[in-house]
Symmetry: D2
Subunit: 357 residues, 4 copies
């Protein structure tokens, strides 16, 4: 019997922390050795999340964060802390050689100047741990699998970014769409806003309507989308990304609009390119012609549904991706990355089927 | 005391018929003289729609359609029948000089060839009443007010089309955006699919997810959007329109993406152009900078919320409109048109505030 | 033209305040002269509630509360402040002879000792204005119409209480059910919890589940239900009331379970008794046999749907009522009471049909 | 390596069939050998349920029902067919010695006369397979574990019945509540109505309201609740059961109201009795004082949350249970029963944590 790898979950009182517990507690290759949080320290997981009362044997109390304790016990740590808070924790853990999967945005952008342009605030004028930036691997296995196998610090992608990149990158890489002028219109369930109540996610306000927010290229997932699509294009590019809040708990649907490099291709060429790019991928389903992604079909699973269509009338391309924002868009993807860097089978512990209806 | 104009509602068993009853029963300038339907004939309105049990005094039985009876009693008729069915009814009523507001798609497209390209089916190879097409006025008061004042046949716009045109047309008319390559990403509540149950609107399937449908330029509201935007542009154009089904009952949010004709304009120029275009409009609110349209804020009202933003980073324009698909997107707009052609005050009977939360 | 009565709305930043503005701004007998609030003072109504931007001409700024200013301008004031806060405001207004409709719980319980048992807290060990208690009339027109006609202080009932009392009281008054052992199982939309965000009404937590809360007779609407049903019974009684939070914005459905005083009655006797009790009532619909109350059919309207069934197998009675918690359960009912005390037609300004679907 | 038991799923196109596939495809002790359906035969599971495209290796076509083929291949069959249809299938399978878990109502009632009173229709005047009735074991492990270990035909309980019995039966068995006059007020998500679209589950009609249905003791889960509670009581009894449709996909919350046999007990005695009864139960969580069942906390899991409170003021008892109607209320419970009769560990394959939020 192989020893299970001891892992720590830091930031257990939010939704991505809860999803890490849900997934890792059933993962045959690891053992949740430590559950830590700031405010929730002292409570049990089952107090904070009743649905997880039976996840960790004995439902032990949540501990306060202590990097030395993590290093003494766990080989891998997941940080589900907010951006800004996470960087210091990651630095402390890396200093003690703990492998870290960071679900915050702190290590997603390779260029600290770009980080500063989007994230600098009163507390952090500059990136708190810039020397770690070049160690971090962007945790999208479909694009960085080789680097992830030897990574020690993984920057788990944003939920919107995951959906947008999965839909767009292969079409750019294959030279099928023009990398300029790409529009991404994305829709998210309310869990993407986190567990802190706010007017925007108050059920009476949010439950029976839809609205865009952070329009005009102001959402912080924009630069990571651009970074990854620029990699695919081999040159800089910018995208117009518009997020929406939809009256549901989970799910992201991203629509990517682009111009083809050659309007004369077969109408199915774009979908076929996705199928080629994702052949053999354990978690990306390229849907057959006539079927369309639906967030209801990936709820709770690590799978992404993608497709692309070419509109003969306008000569434009639409690529679509659906994911669960908390799984493939966060905690599931983090586990997928962990499997890669630990040399475990990539899909291990991630075979949950979607919960439908 | 002026006499109330007698009106007939035909097709009272669907949602747009119900909304006509809701609005017209409280309209001080008209009197619901006749309520007709096919399948529901013999039942009372309150049987078919319990919330309307008190709308029409005495809640009389719904009558089967009879054009002679309509002509004998009503000066104005609203047809809320499905497209295809509606054209014959409209023709019969127009032959008897009844003023008709048709909520179906049958008279929205001026060119019968375009109609045939989108609507021809086994029952109707060609438009059933082509001679009436040039009499019909497209019922969007914000663009056809003058013609509507003397109209006898109004083709009430589609719900998606209303939202998309309200957001885009003034920017095209003002020469601010390039009329080619416009992308419209629109999201609708489930009432847009009508009252007939279907798998796509079955609560367990639709209630906790979002998905696009009829992608790739196949939705039938596309040609009417193109017709109206072409009017604004002074030349032909094509748009890529993608509809989505959102887990809510009412509301449409349309996002229009376009390239500016001059990328050097002030960032607020696009919103300002909407404000200029809609100055004095009784039902269009151009939101101040920093506020964004939300379908929850127009539920049950005839108001549209619109805005536009310029994304400095990509040099693209986003215009957004939110409406209630059954009110400004259907029955409310029909009443607004009726007010115009009857010479009544345009907002009469349409001052319902949105129901929020 | 009769002069419109000037009214003040105090506490305009919550949902019941907003509903008062929605209703009163369209009421032909009154004029919203003053809109006041604590935190929201200085903002406009349209800033706080975008759907009301056009409700009050000119959308003037919200004023801070000032009883002298109210007395100088308005004949009637509505207090939509939280309980505890409201009593002082009401006292100040009554001292200046302003007619007050108080939507809080502060004047609903006639007995200050009972008030203290349910509402006393660190700030208020005893009722803040006990001398006003005997002036207050419980604002349920179906039970206190005569007293309301001459009232100067109306305690508008709680939302749950309205539904429960409408279903149960006539059956008790008629001697058809045993006043002891009554169980009330009620379900509410999230707007009943008010506009302040909280974990319990955070969309991801509340949007896809149902749960009871404040079980075991701890919800504060219990004593007002008991007070009114005791009136109907002519003696003291106690009820077991269980509230639930349902994933929707508006609506209360109350199921009342009771034992019949005579199990041998006709099965339709209970429904028939409701029909007799509510004959002529402008806002209570006793549904015909075979139809059942549905909160979706009263959304946005001041109507209540009620019915009762007798279960032959167990010999128990079930009475059901559906209302909109913010209209008949709060602001609509307040306006209905105002109409009575001002001598206006009781349904004036309250003819809004429900918004369905 | 032990051989996996080959199982057949019959009726794979409905929600309970889908949940059987979701659960059994991840069950280490069995192998889905056959998937059968009537209408859906010829399609693949992934066509009928996209979220299950990867559940069964190769996603083979669904076969038409053929009892000989089942007997030749599978040791165990699950029938997820509608009642009435299921009995014949079950009889054919039992004739060939296939172990059957029937999710329909056909074998839940031990007395064919009671069956006839509730289920007889034009097609079936009497029970289609009465001789099998005494072989069938009611599949509620918490009450019939010993019999289930040797069962060959299991009648899997109804979803409402599961919740109601779990809440009430231990209190009756322990002599704590009076078996007469029990009221069960239960609330269900729309998936309980099955996958066929209908007006009652059309999103615009059902999505933003709550309503009772089949009131007055007419719902067919009533007699199975009575049968099981009568067992607990040791004598006949009748319950008043009222189901409700809630705007969500999954979940049942059942509130059971009863009189205590001794009003003088400690307030926590009822909850404590549940804790005693369910000590060691793998799937029933008796919540600590102060916490209440929430269907959102059991979505997708086989767990039930239960509690009970005593209302000192009225002297009445309220017991509450929350389950996922498709898991503990149907397919999960079926698998739990299968584990018992196959001698597998009872929780095997059922350790899915709830999906929250």
């Amino acid at each position: 019997v192989p020893t299970r790898v001891p892992v720590a979950i830091i930031g257990a009182s939010g939704y991505t922390g809860a999803e890490l517990i849900r997934i890792l507690s059933r993962h045959p290759g690891v053992r949740i050795a430590q559950v830590m949080a700031k405010r929730a320290a002292g409570q049990r997981v089952g107090d904070v999340f009743p649905h997880l009362a039976h996840a960790v044997p004995g439902d032990p109390p949540i501990e306060p964060f202590d990097p030395a304790a993590v290093a003494a016990t766990s080989r891998v740590a997941f940080s589900a802390l907010p951006h800004g808070d996470s960087a210091d924790v990651v630095a402390a853990l890396r200093a003690k050689n703990v492998i870290v999967l960071d679900l915050s945005a702190d290590f997603r952008l390779r260029d600290p100047a770009i980080w500063a342009g989007w994230y600098a605030d009163a507390d952090h004028a500059a990136h708190p741990a810039p020397t770690l930036l070049h160690d971090a691997v962007y945790g999208l296995p479909e694009r960085h699998r080789a680097a992830l196998r030897s990574a020690h610090l993984v920057a788990v992608p944003g939920c919107y970014a995951t959906a947008a990149i999965l839909a767009a990158a292969p079409l750019i890489s294959a030279g099928l769409i023009v990398p300029d002028g790409i529009v991404i219109d994305a829709k998210s369930g309310a869990s993407g806003a986190g567990r802190s109540p706010s007017p925007a996610t108050h059920l009476p306000e949010a439950g029976e309507g839809i609205r865009a927010y952070k329009v005009g290229g102001t959402h912080r997932h924009t630069p990571e989308i651009e970074q990854e699509l620029a990699d695919a294009a081999g040159r800089e590019l910018r995208v117009l990304f518009t997020p929406h809040l939809v009256p549901m708990s989970r799910g992201i649907l991203a629509c990517v609009y682009a111009r083809p490099t050659d309007p004369g291709r077969d109408v199915d060429a774009y979908r076929a390119a996705l199928a080629t790019a994702y052949a053999g991928e354990p978690f990306v389903d390229v849907l057959p012609p006539g079927r369309l992604p639906d967030t209801a079909h990936v709820r709770g699973s690590n799978r992404a549904q993608v497709t692309a269509v070419f509109d003969l009338r306008t000569g434009l391309v639409l690529a679509i991706a659906a994911i669960d924002n908390l799984v493939k868009g966060a905690s599931g993807q983090a586990v997928q990355c962990m499997n890669l860097l630990l040399g475990l089978p990539e899909p291990q512990g991630l075979d949950q089927l979607a919960l439908f209806p």
